[in-house]
Amino acid sequence: MKLSRDLLFAYVDGELSAEEARRVAEEVAKDAELHAYVEAQKTLKAQLQAAFKPIMEAPAPERLARAVNETPIPESKTVAPLAGWARHGFLKKLLRAPALLPAGAMAAGIVLGFLLADSFGMGGDISGQGGRLITQGQLSRALSNRLAEDDASGSATRIGVSFVSRAGQFCRSFETARAEGTVAGIACRDNALWRIAALSSEAPRARTEFQQAASGMPAAIRDALNGMIVGNPLDADAERAARNQGWRAR
């Protein structure tokens, strides 16, 4: 039997069948050097496990027990809203165009219902145009002008992170407060418009001052962002430069 390092590691990790393990053990027993090597690998593994023993034996902190017992489990989130939306022609188109809304975000509870109520009317932040959702009004202005570092108190919209998407466009995450609740989303600059790439009405999580903008995002938006982003989010200088040149794709 030809021994290799990988075979010995598989042996140490219990990956071999009983028959294979027996044959390896025989070979190893014949050779002191091999035996020492295998023992060292076993010791390494045992030592790693021993090092973490205190945390395995410690009682879990109260806040974790609370998270397990008290985090609300939503009722099935995906089915009900869809029936209502599908009546709208452009929404049917939207739902057939997976590129517009990440599938994961959809499953995680994107709710467009109350946004659309006034999108078809006047003065909403978001409207449909040629089968796409675009921003308008104060949301558009905030996306175009506001830097993440600017003081946003008094504004309905908060800008989160700015980044470059795989499509090479500038995109920004936002939260905008509405009478019905806060909506979070991602908008990407597309032909001088801010096109909505993801939208969620799931409440953003409370954020401490130590956390970055991204950590307060609803999971659906963070998932969408992670699927879109290339490299790291823009830093303050890059964000300013992008704004000053009108968020034109590079």
Partner: protein, 174 residues
């Protein structure tokens, strides 16, 4: 429905120690590890409809934790090597002579893990520390098994170097 939820919560509670250990191996700090565990638990429960009943909850939670940790690293632009300090010593809630001993071993181990590239640390945490099979680790990390074994081999060499000052690879294996 409620009974089913209660059962899932109790399964999750039983997995907390392993989840904390995994998170500590990834993050290197207890406070950060517990933040990660809390985020993981909350996200899992909010998305419980995505958990396939009768599949392994441990793998599902590890995958969520690992993805969240990648998000955190990306969002904070954390670079691995900034982590390798020993300030962990002040954060751990252990005291007493025996505890201090195991505590030192943990500090040293976290330092050694911290020196590994992120992708190797994931594999070490799952296979060497948690004892999962190569197949389970590959499924959690969504990589081929060959990737798990090659990362593991590199990580073993690096850890052996730190822990034992290196191991002599027998001639028959070279």
């Amino acid at each position: 429905m409620d009974a089913a939820h209660a059962e899932l919560r109790s399964q999750m509670m039983a997995l907390l120690p392993r989840l904390r250990r995994f998170a500590l191996a990834l993050t290197g700090r207890t406070a950060e590890a517990d933040d990660l565990v809390q985020d993981t638990v909350e996200r899992a429960l909010r998305n419980l409809d995505r958990f396939v009943p009768d599949t392994r909850m441990d793998s599902w939670l590890f995958r969520i934790a690992q993805n969240l940790w990648i998000d955190t690293l990306r969002a904070r632009k954390v670079r691995r090597h900034t982590r390798n300090d020993l300030s962990e010593a002040e954060q751990l809630p252990y005291d007493g002579a025996r505890a201090a001993e195991s505590h030192l071993l943990l500090s040293q181990t976290l330092t050694a893990l911290g020196a590994l590239p992120e992708d190797q640390r994931d594999v070490v945490a799952l296979v060497l520390i948690d004892g999962l099979s190569y197949r389970e680790a590959a499924s959690i990390l969504e990589v081929p098994i060959g990737t798990v074994t090659s990362r593991l081999a590199r990580a073993r060499d690096a850890l052996a170097l730190r822990v034992f000052g290196g191991t002599q690879v027998p001639e028959t294996l070279q």
